[in-house]
Symmetry: C2
């Protein structure tokens, strides 16, 4: 099996080799710009990995892998407009560097370019692969819409939240793995199991992200601790805490959420203490563990040599057990 890093650099080189027209410049420059911002290229690497695991031709899987990366960057370009985000990977976002209209239209073109790349598969796989791609794309859009709706909604349950992160971040992992597996000649059953693995791993990964934002070591994972608390982001932790807190703690949590001016450090400390009082960390970890186990169960059922399954287990472990 090829190493993940090798697959990632294969993608990075292929992304760098993608060619777009010069004219109209306002349409294609932003596409080149966002694709050159880098990133781990994890989603397309997963597609190649899945193909490789089933002994498929990784080179043949390269255009669909690029499709996933171009699609992912289309969602980033449009999400950044919607989130009013000034920066992406430390650089100015497209809508800031150009304007909203440019970011809307260049994003639209990227979605179409995604289809063009995804269509570079064998004829006998074309319909199946595009069906998966369509479902993935719709899922991601639904997830983004739910994420926005949740921002202004005060009554989100854990099940709704899990469904949102499944759509927004996990289905694209599942879709990439499934497409890669099919290109690698996996049968429908194994490809679907690998997709299950990816979706559940994705949910577990996002839950871990929620936990790390509050309980992570900032030196280890390079993000400001408590950013989600500061912005009242509806994470697993906040939703669970709102469900569980009673009495003065409930009033106190509601008060911190309602404040428009506050000392950030103080807010993070106070909200974390409320989280601790109802053990949300433990519950989030248990939920994360449950999804990780679902992922491993799906993996165990796949008809692949033990060595290949171990490769996937090691990959998942590397993703999930980031040091706190």
């Amino acid at each position: 099996m090829r190493k993940l890093e090798d697959l990632q650099s294969l993608i990075a080189n292929a992304v760098a080799d993608l060619k777009y027209p010069e004219y109209p410049a306002e349409l294609y420059e932003p596409i080149k710009y966002i694709l050159a911002l880098g990133g781990k290229r994890m989603r397309p690497a997963l597609l190649l990995m899945a193909c490789d695991l089933f002994g498929g031709d990784v080179e043949a899987a390269l255009p669909p892998a690029l499709a996933i990366e171009v699609f992912h960057n289309f969602t980033l370009m449009h999400d950044d407009i919607m989130d009013n985000a000034p920066k992406r990977r430390g650089k100015t976002t497209v809508h800031e560097k150009w304007n909203n209209n440019v970011a809307i239209l260049s994003g639209d073109v990227m979605l179409v370019e995604g289809y063009r790349l995804m269509m570079q598969v064998r004829n006998d796989l074309l319909r199946t692969v595009l069906d998966i791609f369509n479902d993935t794309a719709i899922g991601v859009c639904e997830g983004q819409q739910l994420d926005m709706t949740f921002e202004t909604s005060n009554n989100i349950g854990i099940a709704e939240y899990i469904n949102m992160i499944r759509l927004k971040t996990a289905v694209v992992l599942g879709g990439a793995l499934k497409i890669g597996a099919l290109i690698g000649e996996a049968d429908e059953k194994d490809a679907s199991l690998l997709s299950e693995f990816g979706i559940n791993l994705g949910i577990a990964f996002q839950l871990q992200d929620d936990i790390l934002d509050v309980y992570g070591n900032p030196e280890k994972f390079g993000k400001q601790v408590g950013g989600d608390i500061i912005s009242n982001k509806k994470t697993y932790l906040l939703i669970k805490a709102l469900e569980l807190v009673k009495g003065t703690d409930a009033e106190e949590l509601a008060r911190w959420i309602s404040l428009t001016t506050f000392d950030a450090t103080e807010k993070v400390a106070a909200v974390t203490e409320i989280y601790n009082s109802v053990n949300v960390r433990q519950q989030a970890e248990a939920e994360m563990q449950a999804y990780a186990e679902k992922a491993f169960e799906a993996l165990n059922s796949i008809n692949l040599p033990e060595e290949n399954k171990q490769y996937l287990r090691d990959f998942a472990d590397g993703l999930l057990v980031r040091e706190y």
Copy 2:
């Protein structure tokens, strides 16, 4: 051959029958809303017409025809954001009724739904049809970008302008006709000729629109006369006039364009007089005629019974000879 009106109502009924999920409401309500605004359903009707002309099964062509209509409405939803348009077909636009984010994301979903519908063709046509659809979509986006770029550019030539309207409005007619012809079992040559017909007819139609905006009878075509002049829209007439006017007329035209406050009736009268002084109407009509002839030439070369070609000629005549 089926009558155009029958094909249009076939589409209208099928559009009304399209089903979208209830949840998330903010994602799917705007899609239902914009599709219910109506319109002539001309583009999808052309797809069905092309299929019918070659003796194909019109029912089988219905999903791809709907794909063209959904795609077209996706472009309207995003264009309306970019153009900051408050109204569409007399009703509030999606970004006004909801907000920009909703219009961006619902539009994205519509593009994917367009692909889903377009994929409902026979396996042996799938790749070809999607290639045409991709090229059409990219063309429309390029045309919209050029249209926006031209707004703030002072040095647009006629060739660039024709290229812009070809991309923005004509290629989708060509694409719809070509896909319909192929579903109707036309060979590649005839399908391409029909596409040529559609593209050239589309350019002629847009040029006619430019002419009618200034010289049309407002009672006959229901639009305010001179709207393009009032907004300094870069039409064939304005670009040609800027190319031709000399001396005081050139200064006068430049002055009217630069004014931010003015009497609309006065501006329309003054600019029209300058247009008349360099005969831009005659030149626009000649250009329109040249594209109409190109359309008819392509049509004449198609391997179809004379009766079917006459049907297309009548259709084109009905489209182009709107009474001034």
